[in-house]
Amino acid sequence: MKITFPHMGGVYIPLKTLFEELQVEVVIPPFNNDEMKGLGCKHSPEYSCLPFKLILGNVLHSLERGADTVIMLGGSGPCRFGYFGHLLNMIARDLGYRFTFICLEPSTLHGDIRDFIKKVGCGYRTFLRALMLGWKKLEAVDGLQKKYWTCLPYSRDKEKSQTVLRNAVDQIAACRSVPEIKSAAAAGSNALDSLRQATDSLPRVAVVGDIYTLNEPYSNQNIEWLLAEQGIEPCRSIYTSGWVKNSLLPWNKKAYYCRAKAFAKGYLEDCIGGFALDTVYHAVSSAETGFDGIVHVFPVTCMPEIVSRQVLEKISLEKKIPIMSLALDEHMERTGVETRVEAFAELLHGKKHNVNQNL
């Protein structure tokens, strides 16, 4: 069995660990690039969102490289994500690929995992141990990323910070046990800290939106990097590990949604699927906790985020916080995003230093 899965930021690290611990061969597609995008766009429906196109590109590329099993997460809507797996299965079969398709649906999760374990031929204990190791890695990588983005705007040599982060992530990815992961993460964190320079505090911006666009730098034109280059501290609202903790674990789920709904009251009264409620929640909470601005990223034609985008305009007016919305698709050019980020950064710096009260 040669298993493959699509990319979403650093998710490949825990998944690779999980499958390798179970002695399953893994085919990881290259990081998202123009080739993946081209491949995905060629075969996906015109109005599907950029995440679907990239995911399809990843899967087709891996199938071409000899993968024979595709694993995907399902969902129960009403965001389109829950149907991605089935649609890409149909598209790939229509193109003539033959493979096993495993879709982890929330309703049949236990059965799916049981079948998978049976197929792989490992015990439950091995599986759980591998899962735990993967989870720890995901947490460590996300923690490091968080640290990285708070340090990056303050570091003079940004390229060096990037190299430090990459090395640390690679180290974590190579770990075989939990203590190793912890020490690798701590070392990486210290290295990042040492590059930080003491200056005046910079404007902070919350980056909100759907989980894929937030966590996959290729799909958001590396917006955080662009912000950091302009001397703005980006703060990503949803990390994959945080999402798993808040929205997947049944004992946290209810409290999280109650909190989100309380914040979103008056703006978005219902959970309308996807990450709309999360977006509105994070926008309101960051407006109330002293952030200087909000950047909203989402794929073109994303249904929930279009609603939240319209609602964000009201939040912007009522909470008096500048919001920049970026709808991203395969035609987005880097220069266009850069120009908008520069203009936005100028506005925030101006506001912070009271250069122009009218801004």
Binding site: S44, P45, E46, Y47, S48, C49, F52, G74, S76, G77, P78, C79, R80, G82, Y83, H86, L87, N89, M90, I91, D94, E105, Y267, L268, E269, D270, I272, G273, G274, A276, V300, T301, C302, M303, P304, I306, V307, S308, R309, Q310, V311, E313, K314, A327
Partner: protein
């Protein structure tokens, strides 16, 4: 008391239900005017530019009745079928919030939310709550609710016999002098959402054009409910959206139907669910060798463009039959 109902989106599917309900309660109903350029322009002004044309139109329709009604009815329909994972498009679910966020000077919106998954008899309770909001007695509300349900049933029956919501097909044929159908007419299944198929402005007169060409039209509403449920089993997983499920299932029904010469899928530019629906229908039609065309509508859709595409498609079907 005047209740404003926007003439778009769910209006075409549930109009007699709400109209009868409010009329029985003694309210006056103000339905927005038929879609026009002015309404569209207003919609574009108020709605966020990433939204699809039906959502923009909805804003336009709400604006249209804004100064003529005491209350505006913007229902938040979440689940009306009882199927566990089926709701409506997220944009429908957030419609109330969208309207509230972008249109400040409106009469109060009637708060109305139905989710049949939550509790038993949620529908009835919600109508009772709505009636109480308007200050009606329980007996009167119950009566209005029952007659509204009856009205919806007979409306659905009429739809399933091929009458479009605004006027019966036969009536259309009499008044506008459309030639009667030839003995073996080309039969096309026109699948799409009710707010696209039955709004003559948005679809640039697509249905009328097809009638004029002497084509028999089959719509999703004409497929018996039971058949839809049978066809649902052929899909790997149900879609999450009520209208989309209807479209996909009826399209598959028509693909299997030997009377049908071709499928026209009408969609709105940038429609999220339709990117999935369209591909599913396309793959299915390709497998069975049934001609399929996708017509996508947006703010700039012109009559000539639609007509050319329809004519080309119909000519191709005639050629297939050996009539050309």
């Amino acid at each position: 008391m005047k209740i404003g109902i926007p003439r778009t989106l769910t209006y075409y599917a549930y109009k007699p239900l709400w109209e009868t309900f409010f009329q029985d309660l003694g309210c006056e109903i103000v339905v927005s005017e038929k879609t026009s350029k002015g309404i569209l322009d207003k919609g574009v002004e108020f709605a966020v530019n990433d939204a699809c044309i039906p959502i923009k139109l909805f804003h336009g329709h709400v604006h249209n009745i804004g100064n003529r009604a005491d209350f505006i009815f913007v229902p938040r329909l979440i689940n009306l079928t009882g199927e566990k994972t089926v709701t409506y498009c997220p944009k429908f679910l957030g419609l109330t919030d969208m309207v509230r966020a972008s249109m400040p000077d409106l009469p109060p919106l009637l708060d109305f939310r139905i989710d049949l998954r939550e509790k038993w008899k949620a529908r009835r309770r919600e109508y009772e709550r709505l009636g109480c909001l308007l200050g009606m007695s329980p007996g009167r509300i119950g009566h209005a609710f029952r007659s509204a349900k009856r009205a919806l049933r007979s409306y659905r029956r009429r739809l399933s016999h091929g009458n479009d919501p605004e006027r019966a097909v036969a009536e259309l044929r009499e008044h506008t002098g459309i030639p009667s159908l030839p003995s073996r007419p080309i039969t096309l299944a026109v699948v799409g959402y009710p707010y696209l198929l039955y709004d003559d402005f948005v679809n640039a007169g697509l249905m009328t054009k097809l009638y004029n060409m002497g084509i028999r039209i089959l719509t999703p509403e004409m497929v018996p409910e039971r058949q839809l449920l049978i066809k649902a089993k052929g899909l790997p997983k149900d879609l999450f959206w009520t209208f989309s499920n209807q479209v996909v299932r009826s399209a598959i029904y028509y693909i299997d139907d030997s009377r049908v010469d071709g499928i026209i899928h009408v969609t709105a530019f940038g429609c999220g669910p339709d990117s999935m629906v369209g591909k599913l229908i396309e793959l299915e039609a390709k497998q069975r060798g049934v001609p399929y065309v996708l017509i996508s509508l947006d703010e700039h859709t012109g009559e000539a463009g639609i007509l050319t595409r329809l004519e080309a498609f119909v000519d191709m079907l005639r050629y297939r039959r050996g009539e050309l």
